[in-house]
């Protein structure tokens, strides 16, 4: 794989993480437990979709085959998506959504912070813009983990279950393959392993404050970055891509 192909793949990962999580969050629109939460979840979704456009447009530019963010979002099949498995997991109850968000936001924040130092100024610019938004996402999801963990017996039980059930999808966030290593070598992106310690530190201290117990490190489910997804992604794409598939080139 040459440098251009690696960069394209890497940008797809960044864009697809934002796209799929943004879509998942938008599923809450009109269904949230309270109006404020409906607005907040939709706002976070909107930020992520905005970031998706930036990353995927850049991916299309790097690829040089005339695909823009829309074409990449609407006209690829599941095996061509490069998001981590964590973001495609179903919304579940509110605790599952917030635990998924907290795991992701903490990692996303650390990753973007490193990417602001990328040697590719296009990457650094998008990262700097996104980091400001993700800072708010992280503050909010962390507060919800605390609120629900250290809340009622019922909210504690649900948050503990969510923290446990999603744990096996967090390992993938820190694993590097040849594409990640190529990015490190070119000075374009960070060594993902270096994000693990600060991530774990924040997750652990938050769990403690929330009276939650963190699972032991163990077997991790992975594959999303290479296009091997859980069954959930196909259903997401059926929803997300329906209009463009049924009515090709339809515009707003």
């Amino acid at each position: 794989m040459n440098a251009q192909d690696s960069l394209f793949e890497y940008l797809l990962r960044l864009g697809d993480n934002a796209l799929i999580l943004g879509h998942r969050l938008s599923e809450w629109c009109g269904h949230s437990p309270a109006l404020e939460e409906d607005l907040a979840l939709s706002n976070v979704a909107l930020d992520l979709i905005g970031q998706t456009q930036l990353w995927l447009n850049l991916a299309g530019e790097v690829e040089g085959k005339g695909r823009d963010a829309d074409k990449l979002a609407y006209l690829r099949d599941a095996r061509d998506f490069r998001n981590v498995l964590l973001v495609e997991q179903p919304n579940g109850d509110f605790a599952v959504t917030m635990a998924r968000q907290f795991y992701f936001d903490a990692w996303h924040y650390l990753l973007l912070r490193e990417l602001t130092g990328s040697k590719d100024s296009r990457i650094a610019e998008i990262a700097a813009k996104s980091l400001k938004e993700v800072t708010y996402h992280l503050e909010r999801s962390q507060e919800w983990v605390l609120r629900l963990g250290d809340g009622t017996e019922e909210s504690h039980r649900r948050m503990q279950t969510a923290i446990d059930d999603l744990w096996m999808y967090t390992g993938e966030l820190f694993e590097s393959d040849e594409i990640d290593r190529a990015m490190v070598q070119e000075g374009l992106g960070p060594d993902l392993a270096t994000l693990h310690e600060p991530w774990l530190g924040l997750v652990r201290s938050t769990a403690e404050e929330a009276t939650l117990s963190l699972p032991q490190p163990g077997w991790a489910q992975k594959g999303g970055k290479r296009g091997i997804h859980s069954e959930h992604l196909g259903y997401i794409l059926a929803d997300l891509q329906f209009l463009q598939r049924a009515y090709p080139n339809a515009t707003w």
Binding site: E36, L39, L46, Q53, K132, T135, E139, E143
Partner: protein
């Protein structure tokens, strides 16, 4: 036809843009918000650089459209709107006049000095003191980190009981 003798200078154009309202918060102009980053002539074409407040803000394309319409109405027929991402927009660019207008409109203006400690230094973070735009009381509580648009949070005044938007720092 605009040539180098008759073309309006960028400062004049900036003043015209002070009349272009933000589509979501019409009390303030695009200049008040600090989203117009550059205005200059590229020979006989005017180039206006704008930056999005939030990457997914749907108002960005409407803003570009309104700027274009306003300048065409002033007789500028050749212009290009450029989207600029860097440096990223910060509420520190909201002008003093913009802050005053926001408050008069019922939106608490952003606390100064955007940024602050990262969420990884939670203990260093202090809750912001946001004054009620109606009665000026500082006895207020945050209802939600996010409001009716990406740039706002929801607060409530615990004295006059008015719920209000806070234009949050970024």
């Amino acid at each position: 036809m605009i040539d180098s003798l008759t073309r309006p200078d960028p400062d004049q154009i900036r003043r015209w843009l002070e009349d272009v309202p933000d589509p979501e918060v019409p009390a303030v102009s695009v200049m008040d918000l600090g989203i117009v980053r550059d205005v200059q002539w590229d020979s006989d074409e005017l180039v206006v650089a704008i930056t999005p407040t939030y990457s997914g803000c749907p108002a960005t394309s409407v803003i570009a459209f309104e700027i274009e319409a306003a300048l065409r109405a002033r007789g500028i027929d050749r212009l290009r709107i450029e989207r600029r991402l860097s440096p990223p927009w910060t509420t520190d660019w909201v002008t003093q006049e913009g802050r005053r207008r926001l408050e008069a409109y019922g939106i608490a203006p952003p606390a100064e000095n955007a940024g602050g400690p990262s969420p990884f230094d939670r203990l260093l973070r202090k809750p912001l003191v946001i004054a009620c735009p109606r009665c000026k009381s500082e006895n207020t509580s945050r209802i939600s980190e996010f409001g009716s648009t990406p740039c706002k949070a929801q607060y409530r005044c615990d004295d006059c009981l008015e719920p209000f938007d806070y234009f949050k720092c970024i």
